[in-house]
Symmetry: C2
Subunit: 343 residues, 2 copies
DNA sequence: AGCCTATTTTGAAACGTTTCGTCACACTCT
DNA sequence: AGAGTGTGACGAAACGTTTCAAAATAGGCT
């Protein structure tokens, strides 16, 4: 059961392989007579060109790689959806890798992608330094998604994390909360840091202190939300509102709240970064800062295509290489005015 | 900035490319002296072999494709995780495609995968017939995941859907429910059909009638869970328990329940197929039938490897080509005894 | 020393495409 | 009739590997 090659087609159509190639790629300059013969042969053999061979020759795979830290995080899944959709339209295939929030797996993935000579890669970094180094040294077209190192200048598409956190916190303040806590994410990334800064800014503007006990450091994962949440609730003077910086931490926090039997939003308001299906359909329906995930994927893909073209033509890189998307505050039932008497 | 090839390495080490190839692939039969020279050169150039070229020659890509109907469904995301993990261990890369529950996209994806000459594919079908035809005709190593056509014999790994539904329904019955409804999924798949059959069996054994009004047909998606849920709740004599056949439909159902202001589990119990993070952390904490997603991915990958080997050696296919995984009932707060007085 | 064998090393031919330069052919024009 | 000019078809050389058969070297024996 050998697979058919272009030679088989050529033989059947009684032409040269060059001719077959020409009609397949619609190069023109082939007489109608031969064109028809070739097309018949193509169909008769149900011939599919061998992309490996083609790519080897043309030095282009029409494939991009994307590596994300956690496929089971709906945020990234939605981003990937956006990427896929855009890629399909542009005729690109995508290879998806999950780095599992692990530096060495991320590196391995990047190497694999490189070995396959993908045309470019989209990276939501698990370890900011690693990817940066690896790709920049190899001069690979790439764009960062969601997470970049603070102050990094590389091509990237991210959310306006500062603004999202700022809006969220202001809303909490406007509800009358004075004791507002936050569980922040990994601060080595801009999304962790900017969210903290937005939170701080809002508090300062309102003349509210940023109490050390109310500033808990997590790592974006469920467990840290749960633990830090417990700590917060067990404080002698617990906060009346908590701003959680990622969907998984929010979930952990809710779990802690349930466990301690405190009522949300009656005793404590919760506002989380990242929106998701489930957030809107359980009690309490969660208030969130929604990131435009789908759009982020699309924008990133478009940007990567540009990067690839710049790279191939060896042009100078463009100017504006970072796009910042606006998040949206979605208010539901987990935020309310603070309880009258101190809890 | 050209990339280095094996020729560059050979030149630098003053050996032939055959020798370089031999040391890279640890073929043996290369003197220590040359081995060292080659290794130095390899390192000096930071050389990475070109997998396209290699694969073209050896007729093996060490890559498998996986196409799933919906990446944003946590169920599939978890399965993919399992696949990835197993694949990594076995030295396989994976290309992930999302068919978006769409027949033509599924076909396109399958074609792309074929064009890349992946060694095999894992398919969670959006359209059972399409994938079946395409792959079987092309004689491609493949294993189905989660969804197969009823009565299909191809290699596959699935959950024991009948048993899961049976256990779930029996539990509802044991709580004292008499008016039990179900929202089923797409019946052209075994997982849709078997769940219905399990439900039926449990009811029949208990001598309970299967009322037509209580048997709603959905399509696994959110919207159908929501609509059918509304219909159920608006019945003159609504059910006191509902068995929902997929996570997204369960979510839709909960949304309908919230909208109608009925209390769960006080007025209506809910038990859903598929478990997920969120299910355990909102109120009411959902009772579910959990599928072993991770394991499913791992098993599928292992099975595919076997299929690939069988295929390459042109052996006769093995006997037992379908593995059935046991689901697990996870009882939480959304199931309780029926209300005393008819709602 | 000469011959035979065992071990390293290498040249060259694939793998299945694309593409470039050349060739053959049919026209048109002087 | 012969030269010039397109146009359509093709042969062959890549792309970067692996691999096989053949060449080169080293070693052991009479």
């Amino acid at each position: 059961m050998r697979m058919h090659t272009i030679h088989d087609v050529a033989r059947l159509a009684r032409v040269s392989i060059a001719t077959v190639s020409a009609v397949m790629n619609k190069k023109g300059g082939v007489s109608p007579k031969l064109t028809e013969r070739v097309e018949k042969a193509l169909a008769a053999l149900d011939y599919r060109p061998h992309r490996l061979a083609r790519s080897l020759k043309v030095r282009r795979t029409q494939t991009i790689g994307i590596v994300i830290p956690d496929l089971t995080n709906i945020f990234f899944a939605e981003v990937v959806r956006g990427v896929e959709e855009e890629a399909r339209g542009l005729g690109y295939a995508i290879i998806l890798c999950d780095s599992n929030e692990d530096r060495s797996q991320e590196l391995t993935n990047l190497d694999t992608l490189h070995a396959w000579r993908v045309d470019g890669v989209l990276l939501a970094a698990a370890d900011i330094q690693a990817g940066q180094d690896r790709l920049i040294r190899r001069r690979f077209p790439m764009v960062f998604i969601d997470r970049i190192a603070p102050g990094a200048e590389g091509p990237a598409v991210i959310t306006d994390n500062f603004d999202g956190a700022y809006q969220a916190t202001r809303h909490l303040i406007s509800l009358g909360h004075k004791r507002i806590a936050t569980i922040v994410g990994r601060l080595e990334f801009c999304n962790g840091l900017d969210r903290l800064e937005g939170f701080r800014k809002a508090l300062q503007e309102a003349g509210l202190p940023v109490h050390d006990d109310y500033l808990k450091r997590g790592n974006f994962q469920f467990e840290s939300g749960y633990q830090r949440g417990l700590e917060l609730l067990d404080l002698p003077s617990p906060p009346t509102a908590i701003f959680s910086c990622s969907n998984k931490m929010t979930l952990g926090l809710m779990s802690a709240i349930n466990e301690r039997g405190v009522q949300c939003p009656d005793q404590v308001s919760v506002l989380g970064f990242d929106d998701f299906d489930w957030a809107a359909n359980f009690r309490p329906r969660l208030s969130t800062v929604a990131q435009p995930t789908h759009l982020m994927g699309q924008e990133a893909m478009r940007m990567l295509i540009e990067e690839i073209e710049v790279f191939e033509k060896k042009q100078a890189p463009r100017e504006k290489r970072i796009v910042i998307l606006k998040p949206e505050l979605r208010l539901r039932d987990s935020t309310a005015a603070p309880p009258k008497s101190p809890a």
